[in-house]
Amino acid sequence: MSRLRILAGALALALLLPLTAFAVDTGSADFTRYVAIGDSITAGFMSGGLSQVAQRNSYPFLIYRQATGKTTGFEQPLVSPPGIPAQLELRSLSPLVIAPKAGLGSPLNLNLARPYDNLAVPGANVHNVVATVTDNGGLHDLILRGQGTALQQAAFLHPTFATVWIGNNDALRAATSGRVIEGVTLTPTASFEADYRTIANTLAAVGAKLAFATIPDVTAIPFVTTISPFITLPSGQQVPLIGPNGLLTANDHVLLTAQAELAVGKGIPAALGGTGQPLSDAAVLDAGEAATITARINAYNAIIRTVANEKNAALVDVNAAFADAAVHGVPVGGLTFTPSFLTGGLFSYDGVHPTAFGYAYLANLFIAAIDDHYNASISPVNLLPFVFGTASASKGLFNPADIGMDDPSTATLTPEAINNLFWSLNVNIPAPKRPGHHHRH
């Protein structure tokens, strides 16, 4: 071989090297086939809709990218913008108007010949994962496509690694509907444990290494905390709103969905120009209900910790991280992100689901726990593009303009926004309006 050819070969190699994904040290974890089980948060749901604008940076995708160095091969049930249901946008700050974007998205990856790697279904609770095959045109059908339960499909893929973050909806429905109904909006502990163990045992049986995540206290999300139970007069005096059981106290929560009622004077004393009529039960999560939900979440988390320990799995303590974030915020480079609605940077326009930054932060919680437990050296997600909103463009994953994403600067939950949100959360209180019928093809 001539010297020139050796040189050319070396040059070609040098040119190729940067293009080759270099091996990530995943320790004793193996991300050859990674599957995610979960609900809307694992699905990458954001601002009241499932859209690839957010799905392409879902926390499971970010874990996959960091653990494998690859950006392809992790299949998700992508939906075109503006999503199913249509994602919410901020129309104006004054008056504060949050409404769904016009139109509806359509599924982009419906013909994948195998189950998705991200099998999370918005609205799913722990029992849905083990039992639900169809929901008659809802998001289960979009994602499960009649091929079995999420858990069956996960097992079918024989994952080498699986993350399980399920249980939020077992308590969230009680919080967002303002009604604690045992066995309806709040899952009993015994059935939670039985279903959770079924998930863990099934995944362990097919040889998957596991990471489980705890459930954050859903009574601390902006959906629950944003509206004060008091009206503050110019004098500084605080006048309580009127709840279904009388005047509200500081420990009662007025839900974000109460805005529609407040706008027509409900819940506001007549002396202050209101109707003097009480807010509906669905608009208020009272102190007792909130305490019941928090206690139940603690019980769920005790089960999750026990199961994680039994399966020798990584435990991602989202509950502790969120509790800390609620008090201290999430500091990054001199900035502090907080759970405040609209301006905190952690929660999207629905007050329940994370922003792009929030998802990247969650991915880093998972990665840190996986690194720790499996003696891996998976790098955390670079937060810079998520802080400054250039996530998609800068990493070359997708360009918002290419997929017809609206100019974000063109963005009160309108009744339609609330309906969409409840529909996707599987909250049955207000009837869903229309988004259901589109995704069956």
Binding site: G334, G345, S409
Partner: protein, 435 residues
């Protein structure tokens, strides 16, 4: 009295003007180069202290002064490299930022004279601390919410008395008045509710006015015999309390409604009274000098700097509820450090002397406090100097100061990531004239 105070202040401001933009070049934000003869030997001078810069290096040397002398000089400092390569999770792998390459000329001046064979007096003006960091493209710099510019200027007025106890043993004691000012600039950001991403909303420029703090120093020099001498020098800790103003200049987010909301929440474009304090460390030096031949002298020094005094910088807004921002604390939690110096002095003729030196300077900065405001690192210094003695004395020194790479991968509890690796390189050129 009031007039004298005014003169001191005016003089002080003039001197501070000359010290503008001194990049820190002894570890921490110290500047150990206060005499060109010493700089030629990388600061290994405590056991020699045989020119007027003894007032800084070892006041014990003042005891041996036998005629009046006046020394004036400065050190030209030029940073050739000061940059940051980011690490995940923030500002991320692939991120790169550079500081402005700063040049500065911190001066020094000394006057010494004997009163009689036993008692000697002197006054030194020194610039033993200083710091400037300034990042390029500040409005886009990923660390802009931490710091885009930091400037600390300080000089000491150091009257000293020397006592020649025996012909070969001297003690010196001095008082130190330290004059200093500080400027800190950073940006304020907020989440734009329309884009759910961070935008600049203001630029906070904090200026602490020229303020004073007081301390003392002591030194011993023992010329044991013709071939061995030793010296011990100590300069005390000094705290300077500053008062000043901060101004938060508004930056439009592009949305007038959001701008208006911010304007109701933040005291934009108004002077906000502020106070802060900096604890400058004490410093102790031990030097041993051996004359290997009548013309070649070797000195080794160890310095201990009490940087553990630099625990945090509290910035207190004192303007009351309507004219202030939340108080902030910049955590430092530094450590005491030693540095080691080796100097060689080679006298080639009665009028010429060559000097060589090496210093290993340890950073006092713990990893968690490495940030854009002050990215410090361990460093090596290599020096060469030349001294000419004729009608006047002229000293020249050149020092090359490559910093070790400094990487931060952890934060204090409750503080977020700003991870990455800093690289810095500087050259120093010193000139001192003595009459």
């Amino acid at each position: 009295m009031r007039r004298r105070s005014f003169v001191v202040r005016a003089l002080g401001i003039a001197i501070l003007g000359a010290v503008v933009a001194a990049p820190m070049y002894a570890a921490g934000f110290g500047i150990f180069e206060q005499g060109t003869k010493a700089t030629g030997m990388a600061g290994a001078f405590t056991a020699q202290a045989d020119d007027p810069s003894a007032l800084f290096y070892n006041a014990g040397g003042l005891a041996f002064v036998d005629k009046q002398a006046f020394s004036l000089g400065g050190t030209y400092i030029h940073a050739t490299k000061a940059d940051l390569k980011g690490a995940d999770p923030y500002p991320g792998l692939g991120y790169h930022a550079e500081q402005k390459k700063l040049s500065a000329f911190p001066p020094h001046a000394y006057w010494v004279r004997p009163i009689n064979n036993v008692w000697k007096i002197g006054v030194g003006i020194e610039t033993p601390f200083g710091l400037t960091t300034e990042w390029q493209n500040p409005a886009e710099f990923a660390g802009r919410f931490l710091s885009t510019k930091a400037s600390l200027r300080a000089f000491d007025v150091n009257p000293t008395i020397g006592w020649q106890v025996t012909p070969n043993f001297g003690i010196g004691v001095g008082a130190i008045a330290r004059f200093s000012d500080v400027e800190l600039v950073r940006y304020a950001g907020a989440v734009n509710p329309f884009t759910q991403s961070v935008v600049n909303i203001g630029k906070l420029d904090l200026k602490a006015n020229f303020s004073e703090g007081y301390g003392w120093n002591i030194g011993i020099l023992h010329k044991y015999n013709n071939s061995f001498s030793w010296g011990l020098s100590y300069r005390s800790k000094i705290t300077v309390d500053y008062k000043g103003d901060a101004t938060l200049a508004s930056i439009s987010t592009g949305n007038p409604v959001f701008d208006a909301i911010l304007a109701t929440k933040l005291p934009f474009n108004t002077k906000l009274p502020v106070k802060t304090a900096i604890d400058f460390p004490d410093m102790a030096s031990l030097g041993l000098a051996f004359a290997v031949t009548p013309n070649v002298l070797v000195e080794t020094d160890a310095n201990r700097t009490g940087w553990s005094a630099f625990k945090q910088v509290n910035i207190d807004f004192t303007g009351g509820p309507t004219n202030s921002l939340p108080d902030t604390t910049i955590q430092q939690q530094w450590k005491d450090v030693y540095n080691y110096r080796l100097g060689v002095r080679w006298t080639t003729s009665p009028s010429a002397q060559w000097r060589f030196g090496y210093v290993y300077d340890q950073t006092p900065q713990v990893e968690q406090s490495v940030n854009p405001l002050l990215p410090d690192a361990n460093r090596n210094g290599y020096s060469i100097g030349y001294g000419y003695t004729g009608g006047i004395k002229a000293d020249f020194a050149l020092m090359y100061l490559p910093f070790k790479e400094r990487t931060r991968n952890k934060s204090f509890a409750g503080e977020g990531p700003f991870f990455g690796t800093y690289n810095t390189t500087a050259w120093l050129l010193g000139v001192t004239l003595t009459f």
